[in-house]
Symmetry: D2
Subunit: 356 residues, 4 copies
Amino acid sequence: MAAEQKKKFTVGLVGVTGYTGMELARLLSVHPAMRLVRVTSRKEEKRKLGGLHPFLRGFACGELVISPPDPEDLASACELVFLAVPHGTAMTLGADLLRRGCKVVDLSADFRLREASVYESWYGTGHKAPELLVEAVYGLPELYGPRIAAARLTANPGCYPTASILGIYPALQRNLVEEDGLIIDAKSGVSGAGRELKPGSLFCEISGGFKAYSPVVHRHTPEIEQELSSIAAKKLAVTFTPHLLPVNRGILATIYASLKDKRLTLEQALEVYSEVYAGHPFVRVLPAGELPEMRNVRGTMFCDIGVVVDQRAGRLLLVACIDNLCRGASGQAVANANLMLGLELGTGLFMPALTP
Amino acid sequence: MAAEQKKKFTVGLVGVTGYTGMELARLLSVHPAMRLVRVTSRKEEKRKLGGLHPFLRGFACGELVISPPDPEDLASACELVFLAVPHGTAMTLGADLLRRGCKVVDLSADFRLREASVYESWYGTGHKAPELLVEAVYGLPELYGPRIAAARLTANPGCYPTASILGIYPALQRNLVEEDGLIIDAKSGVSGAGRELKPGSLFCEISGGFKAYSPVVHRHTPEIEQELSSIAAKKLAVTFTPHLLPVNRGILATIYASLKDKRLTLEQALEVYSEVYAGHPFVRVLPAGELPEMRNVRGTMFCDIGVVVDQRAGRLLLVACIDNLCRGASGQAVANANLMLGLELGTGLFMPALTP
Amino acid sequence: MAAEQKKKFTVGLVGVTGYTGMELARLLSVHPAMRLVRVTSRKEEKRKLGGLHPFLRGFACGELVISPPDPEDLASACELVFLAVPHGTAMTLGADLLRRGCKVVDLSADFRLREASVYESWYGTGHKAPELLVEAVYGLPELYGPRIAAARLTANPGCYPTASILGIYPALQRNLVEEDGLIIDAKSGVSGAGRELKPGSLFCEISGGFKAYSPVVHRHTPEIEQELSSIAAKKLAVTFTPHLLPVNRGILATIYASLKDKRLTLEQALEVYSEVYAGHPFVRVLPAGELPEMRNVRGTMFCDIGVVVDQRAGRLLLVACIDNLCRGASGQAVANANLMLGLELGTGLFMPALTP
Amino acid sequence: MAAEQKKKFTVGLVGVTGYTGMELARLLSVHPAMRLVRVTSRKEEKRKLGGLHPFLRGFACGELVISPPDPEDLASACELVFLAVPHGTAMTLGADLLRRGCKVVDLSADFRLREASVYESWYGTGHKAPELLVEAVYGLPELYGPRIAAARLTANPGCYPTASILGIYPALQRNLVEEDGLIIDAKSGVSGAGRELKPGSLFCEISGGFKAYSPVVHRHTPEIEQELSSIAAKKLAVTFTPHLLPVNRGILATIYASLKDKRLTLEQALEVYSEVYAGHPFVRVLPAGELPEMRNVRGTMFCDIGVVVDQRAGRLLLVACIDNLCRGASGQAVANANLMLGLELGTGLFMPALTP
């Protein structure tokens, strides 16, 4: 294991019990240029990580002893820290770590919205570090790569926003579709709900079933609207309807937009998408007639995008598909950390889907 | 089993190997007023039905010997015949049975479209009994109950159309929404694809995954448009996107429509829906804030409908949910047969969902 | 609905929030000879049953208002009460109801073990109504039908014991196999764990996975041993290994026993099984070469049994399969109640499986 | 991507359409020391691999053009070839490739049984290269590592045998248990049945269900018996019962054996297991009280083993768990190829499970 001897960046992970924490541990356990040196959880303090998560037995990080989250200790031991804790908690801890010279990738919603007032109206609580909202970079590499590379603090995007924004970005940016009236009909696997004990997350409530939830009022709405408005250079509102799929991982968003030029052909639309995503290895624009499937992105950073033109209705349909835990959370967090540490975007992340 | 002695209508089932055939057998095996006396399949000829489908062992119909489909024999033995065979086959057999005095409920697409030319352009084959298209009644009881009761031939609706039409019907009929620009984002369980051997129907291709398929070009589109145009008294087109869910049964359609009066409240919308479906026991309009879940309709005739008003976008959202095999196919076929035989609509069909 | 006017027995259901409570409500909602008049839950008091369980909307029982469990009220309103509450709670409530003249079917473990000391050593708590252990009848109709019909108190069997005992009963009773060394390798769906919020019951912990749990020490062990010892007229011990399947419903037990006569043929074994279960419509002994599948019993009272002879090893293999919620709990409870009220065993229970 | 420039061994993959072919492609697409240069399939000839398997788009191997299997071409282009074709086909192709100087890892059953007569009686066809049965090494690295490293031809073990043999090996080798009377109750995910179009592999036949199949007569039986007999230095027979789980991947085998010394403690048993597997990083012996779960090995080479002592029955229970596609087929094939090419066993294979 000579590779193990190389200098690696030291990183910490705050909040290791949930699914995003587990996914971060999965990716960091074999990352060629980062070494996980701190894992924290108040509840599981003093256990070995491999005891809490037996899938990590046999890996170096499985031997780590879980500690309570202590900013001083984290900042002294880590060059960068991942925050996989609920919103509200992340903003104070993040501010503290930055002050101590540590870079931070925050997976919560705390630094995603640029205006504190919007945060407050959707999350029902005041923002305790509003000055950082200006500095935080929205961690979607295809849109903000260079700014992420220069950032101290990255706000890792939500899972639904990642799929939705990547799906619609070229069409809006190249002016193919009307800014108004966008519909995002999104379907997510259950891990997106986190690992909390909620009746609705029990196996028997979900297996063999399907439902919509939180239409119109889901908290990812303002995040999507902020970024799409920025792309369109015009304030816009979307209709966003999430649904809960009986699968562990994956998001597929079906997006409906009105074509500006009703004569636009599928070939033209695909050409725009291919151009915009040229040089972005983790976005795969599918050939005409092909649509994404969740299984082709499982466990990966890929966002697969299918494009359809509905000529009768004058609409562009976009189908964007990601793994909500990897691309939609922890994998994207590692990609952002890669950039922030001067590494290649895809370091430790370039692997094909586990399928079937 | 004194009830067994009562006079029952004799019925036949053509095509007993597939999922709609199995579901018909499930419902007919304990139907209080129909007796299944013929089950046919060319492939499984001479086997006992309970040998082919072990879940029917122990029931009278499990002892039936499968015969090849012979119109003369069927017509002499049965007062009504269910056709659960592929489109193309049903139209000739149906015509033959009608000629011999037998009533017919056809579960294929052969008699659903009123114009032979539309049938031909979507199904790619000429229609061999176009004269019956005028006579056939579209078997959606909430819309055509009295006509079904008087019919010799019922065209049982497709699964997606059943959910889509029931979901949008009150809004269109009461003029709440624009006729143009309707979007139906529908998600179906795998049994909707039938029991044929197709790579895409294998367990490992579907489990843990999700995808859209046949957007814009799915064959249920003309059927939906025919019925919605009839309700709206205006020719309209819809954008219809089907998706494949990793579940056995169920369809959930999320429907997006533009409000004519942007000030319409949720309460007003719900009142309209409740009024229109008053007296229709198999449609359950959910109270404000509740949305349908597939598990609540599994194995039943219910269509659960949730209503949402997106005031920011001036849209009405309708979420309609059915069991694709029961309400979307075989259960609805039995309901139609009930009416055609002078029975109550719900005879043998009023049972709650199997959940979990 | 003329049938609705008939005299029905009034029954109550204590504990309506869990899966066995839901399954009882499902079966009782359309039972032709029982009317559910009381449903209780401390936590959900004052809600309508159809509000708590939307799958019951549209049924008479969906209109029932949930009340707290009050023995006086229950006894005055009900001829028979089903107890679907945790062990420990059932024994006091059951005793109270009996005292007030109410018949009781208890779905908990409280009255299954005939000796209070065995109960105490496996459940870690003293028994508060040991005098009733003598009176309570173990509610397995194939073994104890006439005694159940005469009982005031039935102890409804556990789900694993139901499958295990029915699977091995003919072989032990007819002396085909050694009493010692029985192995029961059992696999259960997740609903068997109940509806409590436990990390291990979350969708993402179970979906796509499988595990064994509680080998050697599962609480259904003494119940199985008590009944098998009684059949064998000899105290015996079994090796019982439960496993957790990623399905909602179903138990399949694979049972290994040593043949007494190593020359026993499959035909002979099947003949014994068929004889023993002749006249028991809810046990289906499968023909040679067929093995049970969970989907063939889903939602039903059937126990399907497959028999295999391993001549090289001198073993008899028995594969017994039930629906853990229906046959393994609530359906069997209704069957017992049927007998206790003078009805036919299968009243309201004779329906085929929902498959697929 | 400097690493890409390093000298890599060239390898070929015969049979790329099935699940083992897909899994080989997944692992080889990012293998640091092998380059996939040939992928073959008669049926998919001339397509790009990334067109057939979209999850490989974006990887170098996705650009490979599928060719028909031509031994001459394969041998000239590849240092080693993986055969992922059905039994019967592999033996002639394997012999041909060896003759041309190519190393071969065969994933079929053709070279696993040392005696041609045993092969013929279980597979119903004559063996066409019996001379190679002596030379072929059974590719279970924990048992045959040094011999594999020296081999030209490795017979990759079956999935059930891999889990079964690894589970029982220490107990037999160290004489803890009786050689006779072993029972292996094994449960496998559906990918083990391959990607052929069989009714029993359809989603709706499997989802939500479970069954046993082929008890006593499954073709993996002689393979398990051959290896266990070799370990025990005594001819033995096992009772092997496979079951089909509604999951994509994974095997869990529950093994029952009689203790020679009934006083053996769990600690003693665990010590033996830990000793035997010391230095074998892909076998994880779990601590007392823990049992394996499929999700902890998904997508990996790990075999997790849990040990239980049933003192009342004098039995040792072993629960062994692997990913049937990775450890049970393609991952193990890559591990064997690693050894045969002089690489470390775990090259390109040391990664944690994808969970959830």
